[in-house]
C-alpha cells in the first residue's frame, strides 16, 4: 500500500500539463487528445485503487506531508503541504477524477483550436480540485482553491462560444477571487485564534483548536461568516450567484461539465470542513439564517429557471436550486441530513455533467441553444432523446435514479432535525419540498421545448449521437441508475466521518 502516494495522485496532472505544453506536441491534435484521454483514464483507475485499500471502518488518513526539494513549504509559519484522505474527501477525489475523464472524452468534437493548451489547462484545474479535496492545511486549501481560477478564466474566455465569453469569464474570475479573499481572512483569523490559545503556529485543519476563554464568541462568528462568504460565492447562494448563469452559458460544454460538476462542490465541501468541523458553535448560531437562505436558493432558482429560454441557463439555475437543497441538508446537522447532502453532491455532479454534455451535443449540431428555435428533435435524434429523458427524470428526482435518494434524505433529515426548538426548520423544509413541482415544470419545459413538438425545417438533416458521445452518456446513466438502486455503497463510505463531524453537536 506504500506505493499509493497522494502526491502522485494530486500532482501527476500538473506533470502532464508540462508534457503537453512542450513544443513537441504543437502540431497534431489527435495525438494530444488520445494522450490526455489515456492519462485521464489511467488517473481514474489510480484513484479507484485508493478505494480498494480504503477500509471504511477506520478513517485511514494518508498523512503525508509533501517534501518538495526537502524544504517544508512554510515551516516557520507552521504551514506544511500535508495531504490526507478520509471517507468524504476520497469520495470527492474519485468523483472529480471521473468527471475530468468524462470532460476529456466529451471535448472531442467541441474543442477545435489550440488543443494542447486546452488539455494543459484542464489538467491544472484537475490538480487544483484534487488538491482542495486532499488538503489538510488551511493555506494549502486556499492555494489550490485559487489555483483553478486562472485556468478556468482562460478555458471560459478563449474557448467560449458567445461574444460575451470574455466578459463573463472576467466576471467569474473577479467574483470568485473576491469570495476567496474573504475566505482567506477567515482562515487567518482561525490561524490567529490557534496562536493565541496554544501559542504555537500551525495551520493544519486537524490540529487547529482554540479554547473558548481567550477567543471571544463574536470573533468566532465573524470568522465563520467571512469563510461562509467565500464558500457562498463558490457554492452559489442566492445573493452571490450571478456569476453562474453567465459563466455556464458562455463556457464550452466540457468546461461547464467541470464547472457544474466539481467547482460548486468545493464550496459545499469547504462548509463541511471549516464551518461545521472547526467552528461548530458559530455554525450552530448561524443555522436559522442559513436555512432561510437555502430555502430562497431552492425555490427562487427553480422558479426563475422556468422563465429562461436558453437551455444552458435553465440547467445553471437548476444546479443553483440543487445546491440550495444541499445547503439545507448541511444545516439540518443530523446524520440523515448531512449524509443526504453529501450523496446529493455526488448525484448532482453526475446528472449536471450529463445534462451539460447533452446541451453541448445539441449546440454542436444545431448551433443554437434557444428553446424557441429548437423543437421536435426527438424524431431526428431518438437515442439522444432517450438519454435526455433519463437525465431529466433523474434531475427531477424520480425514484430509482440517483438524485431521489439524496433529495429524500435531505428533506427527511431537515424535517427531523432538532437543532432549534422553534419549528422554523420544519416549516421551511416542508415548503422546500414544493421544489418537486417547480423542478418538474422547468425540466418538462426543457424536454418539450427541445425534443417534442413539431420539427423545424432546418433541423431535418441533423444526425444522431456518435459513438464517443454514446459511451459518455451510457456510463453516466449507468452510474445514475446503479447508485439510484444501491445507494448504501456510497452512504457506508461516509458513515464514520459524518458521525465524528456530528460529535461536536452531540449527534
Amino acid at each position: 500500500m506504500n506505493w499509493l502516494s497522494l502526491n502522485v495522485l494530486v500532482f501527476s496532472p500538473l506533470i502532464m500539463t508540462l508534457i503537453l505544453l512542450t513544443p513537441m506536441f504543437s502540431g497534431h491534435h489527435i495525438l494530444i487528445r488520445r494522450i490526455s484521454k489515456g492519462f485521464a483514464s489511467l488517473h481514474f483507475v489510480y484513484t479507484l485503487l485508493f478505494l480498494v485499500f480504503f477500509n471504511n471502518d477506520l478513517t485511514l488518513n494518508y498523512e503525508t506531508s509533501l517534501k518538495l526539494f526537502d524544504f517544508d513549504w512554510l515551516n516557520s509559519l507552521g504551514i506544511t503541504l500535508s495531504m490526507g484522505l478520509d471517507g468524504i474527501s476520497l469520495l470527492f477525489v474519485i468523483l472529480s477524477s471521473f468527471i475530468i475523464l468524462i470532460a476529456t472524452i466529451a471535448s472531442k468534437g467541441i474543442i477545435k483550436s489550440k488543443q494542447s493548451l486546452y488539455y494543459a489547462l484542464i489538467f491544472i484545474v484537475e490538480t487544483a480540485i484534487l488538491g482542495v479535496f486532499c488538503a489538510q492545511d488551511m493555506f494549502e486549501f486556499f492555494m489550490f482553491w485559487e489555483l483553478e481560477l486562472i485556468p478556468m478564466y482562460f478555458l471560459i474566455g478563449l474557448w467560449g462560444e458567445e461574444s460575451t465569453a470574455k466578459k463573463s469569464a472576467m466576471k467569474f474570475l473577479l467574483y470568485t477571487f473576491f469570495g476567496s479573499l474573504f475566505m482567506l481572512c477567515g482562515f487567518l483569523m482561525l490561524y490567529n485564534f490557534n496562536f493565541i490559545s496554544t501559542n504555537e503556529l500551525t495551520a493544519n485543519m486537524n490540529l487547529i483548536g482554540f479554547n473558548y476563554d481567550n477567543v471571544p464568541f463574536y470573533l468566532q462568528v465573524f470568522a465563520s461568516i467571512l469563510m461562509l462568504i467565500g464558500f457562498a460565492v463558490k457554492m452559489p447562494i442566492i445573493p452571490l450567484h450571478t456569476w453562474l448563469p453567465d459563466a455556464h452559458t458562455d463556457a464550452p460544454a466540457p468546461v461547464s461539465i467541470i464547472l457544474a460538476g466539481l467547482l460548486l462542490k468545493m464550496g459545499a465541501y469547504g462548509i463541511i470542513r471549516f464551518n461545521i468541523q472547526i467552528l461548530p458553535d458559530a455554525f450552530l448560531m448561524m443555522v436559522p439564517y442559513l436555512v432561510v437562505f437555502a430555502f430562497i436558493n431552492i425555490v427562487f432558482a427553480s422558479i426563475v429557471a422556468y422563465y429562461q429560454t436558453d437551455v444552458k441557463k435553465i440547467i445553471a439555475y437548476s444546479s443553483i436550486s440543487v445546491m440550495g437543497i444541499i445547503l439545507l441538508g448541511l444545516c439540518s446537522l443530523n446524520f440523515v441530513g448531512i449524509s443526504g447532502a453529501i450523496f446529493l453532491m455526488i448525484a448532482h455532479a453526475v446528472i449536471s455533467a450529463g445534462l451539460f454534455f447533452i446541451v453541448g451535443i445539441i449546440y454542436r449540431r444545431t448551433g443554437t441553444r434557444e428553446i424557441l428555435q429548437l423543437g421536435g428533435l426527438a424524431k431526428v435524434m431518438p437515442r439522444l432523446a432517450g438519454f435526455t429523458l433519463v437525465f431529466i427524470a433523474a434531475s427531477i428526482g424520480i425514484p430509482g435514479l440517483i438524485v431521489f435518494v439524496g433529495e429524500f434524505l435531505v428533506f427527511f433529515g431537515a424535517f427531523i432535525s432538532t437543532i432549534w426548538n422553534t419549528y422554523l426548520i420544519q416549516i421551511i423544509s416542508l415548503l422546500s419540498i414544493t421544489v418537486l413541482i417547480f423542478s418538474a415544470c422547468y425540466a418538462l419545459k426543457l424536454l418539450h421545448g427541445v425534443f417534442y413538438g413539431n420539427l423545424l425545417e432546418r433541423w431535418k438533416k441533423v444526425n444522431d449521437i456518435l459513438n464517443h458521445e454514446l459511451v459518455v452518456l451510457l456510463t453516466l446513466s449507468v452510474v445514475a441508475v446503479l447508485f439510484g438502486i444501491m445507494p448504501m455503497t456510497i452512504l457506508n463510505m461516509i458513515k464514520l466521518n459524518v458521525q465524528n463531524i456530528l460529535m461536536a453537536f452531540g449527534g
Binding site: 518538495l68 524544504f71 513549504w73 512554510l74 516557520s76 472576467m170 473577479l174 481572512c185 490561524y191 490567529n192
Partner: protein
C-alpha cells in the same frame, strides 16, 4: 579617531562605488563614442566589487561610526546587498537607453551610480543630517536621470519630479526642525533616549507626521503620489526601473528604522499612516483601471504595493518587518521582470500602449508565459511568489490585532480591483491581432530577455518553496 576602522566596517561598499563614479567621470571627459561599451563594464565590475566588499562590513553588534552619523548592522548590510543587486540588474537593462546619446554613456552610468551611492548612505544613516544630505543627493541623481531621454516629455517629467520633491523635502525638513527643537539633537538613538525620559507632546506627533509624510514622496504614497504617473510615462524605461526599485528599498529601510522607535510614542502617527496607505491603495488601484498605457498602469501598481508595505510597517511588531522585507524582495524581482519585458518590447520598437499587446500569445508563447508569470505574481495568484508574499502580509496584519481586520477587508477589495487590470493585460495578449504577425527581435540586446526569464523563474521558485527566504527575512528582522 580610528576613522580607518570606521570606514572598513561601515563604508567599504560606498567607497568602491565612489571610486567607480570617479573613474567613469574621468573617462567621460576623454573617451567619446568609440569606447562607450566599456562604460557598462566599468559600472558592472564596480558594483560587483562593492557587492564582494559587503562581506567585510560589521554584522553582529551595531557599529556606530563617525560619532553616530553612520551605523552598520545585519539589516543595513542586507538592504545594501539588495540595492546593489537591483542596481546591477538596472545597469544591465539600461544598455539601449544609455546608447541613445553616444557621447554621454559614461555620464549616464556615473549619475546612475551616484544615485546608488546616495541610497546606500540613506540606508546606513543614523542621524537626520546624513539622511537629509543623502536624500538630496539621490534626488539630484534622479532629476538628471529622468531628464536623460531625448524629447520634451522627459524634461517636463523631471521638472514635475523636482518641484514636488522640493516641496516634500521642505515638509520633511520642517518636521526635522521641530524634532530638533524638542530634543536638541539629530541623532536617532539620542532622540530615542530623550523620549525614554520625557513624555511625547503634540508637537512631537506633528513633527513625526511631517517627517513621514515628507518621506512618502519617494514611495509615491498619497500626499505626494500624483507625480508617479507622469514621470513613469515621461522618462526612459530603464530609468523607471531605477525609480521603482532603489528609492523604494531605501525609503522602506529608513521608514522601518524611524517608525521602529517613533511609533511607540505617538499613536496619531500610526493612525495617519494607516489611513493614508489605505487611501493610496484605493486611489492607485481604481486609477489603474482606466489606464491605456502599460507604464502608467505599472506606476499605479507600484504606488499600491508601496501602500501595502507601509500599511504593514506601521503595525507595531517585529513580526511585521520580516513580512515587509519578504514582500519587498519578491515585489522587486517581479517588478524588474515586468519592466524587463517592456524593455524587450521597446527594443523591437513596440510602443507601451496596451492595445499593442494584442496577439503576442500566438506569435511568441515563451515571452507571454514569462510575462504573465510576472504579472500574475504582482496580482498574487497561487504558484507565484506574489501569492506567498500577500499571504504572509495578511497573516501579519491579522496577527497584530483584530482591530485591523476592517482595514484588511478594504485592502482585499483593492486587491480584487488590481487582479482585474493585471488579468486585463494578459487577456489582451491572448486576443487575435488582426494586423501584422508581431515577432520580437532580440538581436540588439539579449540581457533584458534573460533578466525576464530569470525573474519569472525566481517568482515561480519562491512561490513553490519560500521557506529559506522567509527564514532569512525573519533572522534579519529580529535584530534590527
Amino acid at each position: 579617531m580610528n576613522w580607518l576602522s570606521d570606514i572598513s566596517s561601515t563604508m567599504l561598499t560606498e567607497l568602491f562605488i565612489t571610486l567607480t563614479v570617479l573613474i567613469l567621470a574621468v573617462f567621460s571627459m576623454f573617451y567619446n563614442v568609440k569606447y562607450n561599451k566599456v562604460s557598462k563594464w566599468i559600472a558592472l565590475c564596480g558594483i560587483g566589487v562593492s557587492l564582494f566588499a559587503l562581506k567585510y562590513l560589521q554584522l553582529e553588534p551595531i557599529y556606530y561610526a563617525f560619532n553616530d552619523a553612520i551605523l552598520s548592522d545585519t539589516f543595513t548590510v542586507f538592504i545594501k546587498g539588495l540595492i546593489l543587486i537591483s542596481s546591477f540588474l538596472i545597469v544591465l537593462l539600461s544598455k539601449r537607453n544609455a546608447k541613445q546619446r553616444y557621447h554621454k554613456t559614461f555620464q549616464f552610468y556615473a549619475i546612475l551610480l551616484t544615485g546608488v551611492l546616495a541610497s546606500l548612505f540613506i540606508v546606513s544613516a543614523n542621524d537626520f543630517l546624513t539622511l537629509t544630505v543623502a536624500l538630496e543627493l539621490l534626488s539630484f541623481a534622479t532629476y538628471f536621470l529622468i531628464a536623460y531621454k531625448k524629447g520634451y516629455l522627459s524634461k517636463e517629467a523631471s521638472f514635475k519630479y523636482l518641484v514636488t520633491n522640493a516641496f516634500s523635502t521642505a515638509v520633511y525638513l520642517m518636521g526635522v526642525s521641530y524634532l530638533y527643537g524638542i530634543t536638541g539633537s539629530f541623532n536617532f538613538s539620542s532622540i530615542n533616549n530623550y523620549f525614554l525620559q520625557h513624555s511625547p507632546t503634540l508637537l512631537y506627533a506633528i513633527s513625526t507626521i511631517f517627517i513621514t509624510l515628507g518621506l512618502f514622496f519617494k514611495l509615491a504614497l498619497l500626499p505626494f503620489a500624483n507625480w508617479i504617473l507622469d514621470v513613469y510615462e515621461g522618462c526612459a524605461t530603464s530609468i523607471i526601473v531605477f525609480i521603482a526599485t532603489i528609492p523604494k528599498i531605501a525609503m522602506i529601510a529608513v521608514l522601518a528604522r524611524l517608525l521602529a522607535f517613533s511609533l511607540s510614542y505617538s499613536f496619531e502617527l500610526s493612525l495617519v499612516i494607516l489611513i493614508l496607505s489605505v487611501l493610496t491603495a484605493i486611489w492607485a488601484n481604481i486609477l489603474a483601471i482606466k489606464q491605456k498605457n502599460i507604464l502608467r498602469l505599472l506606476a499605479c501598481s507600484s504606488s499600491a504595493n508601496a501602500a501595502y508595505m507601509v500599511f504593514t510597517l506601521t503595525l507595531v511588531s517585529v513580526y511585521n518587518l520580516s513580512t515587509v522585507l519578504f514582500y519587498l524582495i519578491t515585489y522587486i524581482f517581479m517588478n524588474i521582470g515586468v519592466f524587463a519585458a517592456i524593455i524587450v518590447l521597446e527594443n523591437s520598437n513596440y510602443s507601451s500602449k496596451l492595445h499593442e499587446f494584442k496577439g503576442f500569445a500566438y506569435s511568441n508563447p515563451l515571452f507571454t508565459l514569462a510575462f504573465s508569470v510576472c504579472i500574475f505574481g504582482l496580482a498574487g495568484f497561487p504558484i507565484t511568489a506574489g501569492f506567498i508574499s500577500k499571504l504572509y502580509l495578511f497573516s501579519a496584519i491579522v496577527r497584530s490585532g483584530a482591530i485591523f481586520i476592517p482595514f484588511l477587508l478594504i485592502l482585499m477589495l483593492t486587491i480584487v480591483v488590481s487582479c482585474y487590470y493585471y488579468t486585463n493585460v494578459v487577456k489582451l495578449m491572448f486576443e487575435k491581432n488582426e494586423t501584422n504577425y508581431n515577432e520580437i527581435i532580440h538581436h540588439n540586446a539579449y540581457s533584458p530577455i534573460v533578466i525576464l526569464y530569470t525573474c519569472a523563474f525566481i517568482t515561480i521558485i519562491i512561490g513553490i518553496c519560500p521557506a529559506t527566504l522567509i527564514e532569512i527575512c525573519k533572522y534579519i528582522a529580529y535584530n534590527l
